[in-house]
């Protein structure tokens, strides 16, 4: 099995073939299983963001909107404090249930902890930890405080951690004892603005008491559990999610409290969350999916949020789906393709009577995998599309709608999606169907990013002709289904995570032997793309397998496994444009063995 659409030129090569898979036709649902979005056209005619907003409570006393209030306290105030909000499955087999009431008091305590540390409205509180309960408490407690929450992926190495803390000017970091020792401690001198690090002990009694360190357990115990949520307005900043571009350092997409309206509505409409559901989003909160849908959407919809600490393991995950009675499952193409690899017999060794809806996001799900879901689980995977900047699902295959395998689906009610071409003065919509262009969205939905942190120019460049330009190339068919074509830039998408080539190349250049470096994504049957690096050596250095491993090792220790290249090749020279830019697309074409004729399209628009 190969990934069908890993890059623009691959798609171009297939262009014109128009081989599409037979649609998966949905039978009429039996009574009681009617999807929240029952009829697409009707949903469009009745939906409005204002109406969705009115279904939330707003802060008591009419004082604005706060994500954490809608996600947690609202349920407690409505008498649902005893319902299980979050079930945590630990790596070691531990199971802990947290009711809405318990999460309310924990997050109130944490908000008080932050108050004690001098955190004020708008300050940035970062988290660097695996999927442990404290992470969820920190996220929601930070929002209650009115501060901005910024999650970091725990598999990042010190360099991505340093650059993000630096760009976001973190005031407080919440992390674990072991991650602190391994990845943060040595950076402290370079991060003078980082006033406090709240450390979660690896085992009870651990933690620490060094200067600038606050022990999580102790400070939580001392904090009051009475807290009045900061009066946040809908447009006040709430979440900062880092993402990557082709050039430069990562950029922090800033979202506001109003985003919760989209988390709520898209959870209902695109993921079909219903009361009584057991919902499992497999994404890590270090990435936007794991926050929007791994924390906020299930809680605000009042469904039970299953949090699994362990990384992917076919047997374990299937066991969890069965034992926990998961009814809505939101996962990613890499995991699905690993399951395909493990085989449908393994899937069929378990039973999933409660499983009703399976969604996928992160990168386009190849049609084989969509259809395989049907064969293995008796349910197809529903691909959907969104990105860090959109804050929530924008285009989706809905439960009620026939699936065209390989398509990302249709725009959500309230979302105006279009295919545009960039022009000298901006961008213009291409109205005829089946034309390739850039996927664009009409601004105005609640979870749209409001800034790149401290980079107004970079933010401004994302908009033209009255659209937000997504950087994804796509086409729309005559019925409004969107089809992914490729990226308009050089960002690498591996296991659903965007990786900026510049960030990778910068780490490679730190090795004393490396003169030049380029990083590209090469198609991989499981990960979509894998990061591959090409380097030239300074004079006096000889290419050798040992040197290759030493450079890869340095990149891993700087960047962490999630970002570092998985392969490295020595070159005597790297192709450059006349202006001196490394032509990553040419390297990619060479690596893929594409014909000369395709090279004209290889240079990315700057």
């Amino acid at each position: 099995m190969t990934s069908q659409r890993s890059g623009r030129f691959v798609a171009k090569r297939n262009h014109g073939m128009k081989t599409r898979w037979a649609p998966i036709v949905k039978s009429r649902p039996s009574q009681g299983a009617i999807p929240n979005l029952e009829d697409y056209a009707k949903a469009w005619s009745t939906f409005s963001w204002d109406a969705a907003r009115r279904e939330l409570a707003g802060l008591p006393g009419g004082g604005g909107l706060n994500i954490a209030y809608e996600a947690v306290d609202r349920h407690v105030d409505a008498g649902r404090g005893g319902s299980v909000a979050l079930r945590w499955l630990g790596k070691d087999g531990a199971i802990h249930d947290y009711t809405f009431g318990q999460i309310k008091s924990l997050t109130d305590r944490f908000a008080n902890v932050l108050g004690g540390l001098g955190v004020r409205k708008g300050d940035r509180v970062f988290a660097l930890c695996g999927r442990i309960p404290e992470l969820y408490v920190a996220a929601l407690g930070t929002l209650k405080r009115g501060a901005i929450f910024c999650p970091l992926f725990s598999a990042f190495g010190p360099e991505p951690i340093r650059s993000r803390l630096m760009i976001g000017q973190a005031k407080v970091l919440v992390t674990t004892e072991s991650l602190y020792r391994r990845k943060v401690e040595a950076l402290r001198d370079a991060l003078p603005f980082l006033e406090r690090v709240v450390v979660i002990a690896d085992a009870p009694g651990g933690g620490g008491s060094a200067p600038g360190i606050v022990d999580y357990a102790r400070t939580m115990e001392e904090a009051s559990e009475r807290f009045a949520i900061a009066p946040t307005a809908a447009e006040d900043p709430a979440l900062l999610h880092f993402t990557s571009g082709t050039t430069g350092f990562p950029k922090g997409a800033l979202h506001v409290h109003d985003a919760v309206v989209a988390h709520y509505a898209t959870g209902r409409l695109a993921l079909d969350m219903k009361p009584g559901d057991v919902f499992w989003c497999t994404a890590d909160p270090g990435w936007v999916t794991g926050t929007s849908y791994g924390i906020i959407a299930p809680l605000v919809n009042g469904v039970m949020n299953l949090v699994v600490e362990a990384e992917f393991d076919a047997d374990l995950w299937l066991e969890i789906l069965e034992r926990e009675g998961v009814s809505v499952w939101y996962t990613a193409p890499t995991a699905i393709r690993m399951l395909v690899k493990a085989g449908s017999a393994l899937v069929k060794a378990h039973r999933y009577p409660r499983l009703r809806f399976m969604g996928s996001v992160g990168e386009p799900l190849n049609p084989e995998a969509v259809v395989w879901g049907q064969e293995a689980f008796g349910l197809p995977f529903h691909d959907n599309w969104w990105q860090t900047e959109t804050g929530g699902i924008m285009i989706a295959n809905f439960a009620s709608m026939d699936i065209r395998p390989g398509s990302m689906g249709r725009a959500l009610p309230g979302i105006e999606a279009a295919i545009v071409r960039r022009t000298k003065n901006g961008a213009e919509e291409i109205r005829e169907p089946e034309a390739d262009g850039e996927l664009a969205l009409r601004p105005g939905w609640p979870s749209m990013f409001r800034a790149y942190w401290n980079e107004p120019e970079r933010y401004r460049k994302c908009f033209a002709g009255g659209f937000y330009l997504t950087g994804d190339l796509a086409r729309r068919d005559a019925d409004g289904y969107f089809w992914f074509v490729g990226r308009s830039d050089d960002v690498i998408k591996s296991s659903g995570h965007l990786i900026g080539p510049f960030e990778v190349e910068s780490a490679l250049l730190e090795h004393p032997a490396v003169a030049e470096a380029a990083a590209i994504g090469l198609p991989d049957p499981v990960a979509g793309e894998l990061v591959k690096a090409f380097v030239t050596l300074k004079s006096g250095f000889e290419a050798s397998p040992e040197l290759q491993l030493r450079i890869l090792g340095l990149a891993r220790s700087r960047l962490g496994a999630a970002v570092a290249p998985k392969d490295l090749e020595f070159r005597s020279a790297l192709p450059r444009t006349r202006s001196g830019k490394i032509m990553r697309r040419l390297l990619k074409a060479q690596a893929l063995g594409l014909p000369e004729g395709d090279l004209s399209t290889l240079e990315a628009p700057s």
Partner: protein, 86 residues
């Protein structure tokens, strides 16, 4: 590929050799037998997949996905692969 090591030191060397390719920065002499390889060596799901498939190639065996949990530690690898290759 050289002769396949079956048990004991040879097998251990093969396993550590593959780990050194996947996580070249790691100090494998400090790896404890019961430590989870992913946690100890900062190995992600893809690295682990590569680890398993290289073990398969070099030991000429098949490791079903359902057995991945058995090779999560060095001790687990030695026991599981030892029984498979002997």
């Amino acid at each position: 590929m050289s002769a396949q090591p079956k048990t004991g030191e040879g097998l251990r060397e093969t396993i550590l050799g593959i780990l050194a390719e996947i996580a070249p920065e790691a100090d494998l002499s400090r790896l404890k037998p019961e430590e989870n390889l992913r946690d100890a060596l900062d190995i992600d799901s893809l690295d682990f997949l590569h680890f398993a498939s290289r073990l398969e190639q070099r030991l000429s065996i098949r490791i079903p996905e359902t057995d991945y949990r058995k090779i999560a530690t060095l001790a687990g690898c030695l026991g599981y692969l030892g029984s498979k290759t002997s």
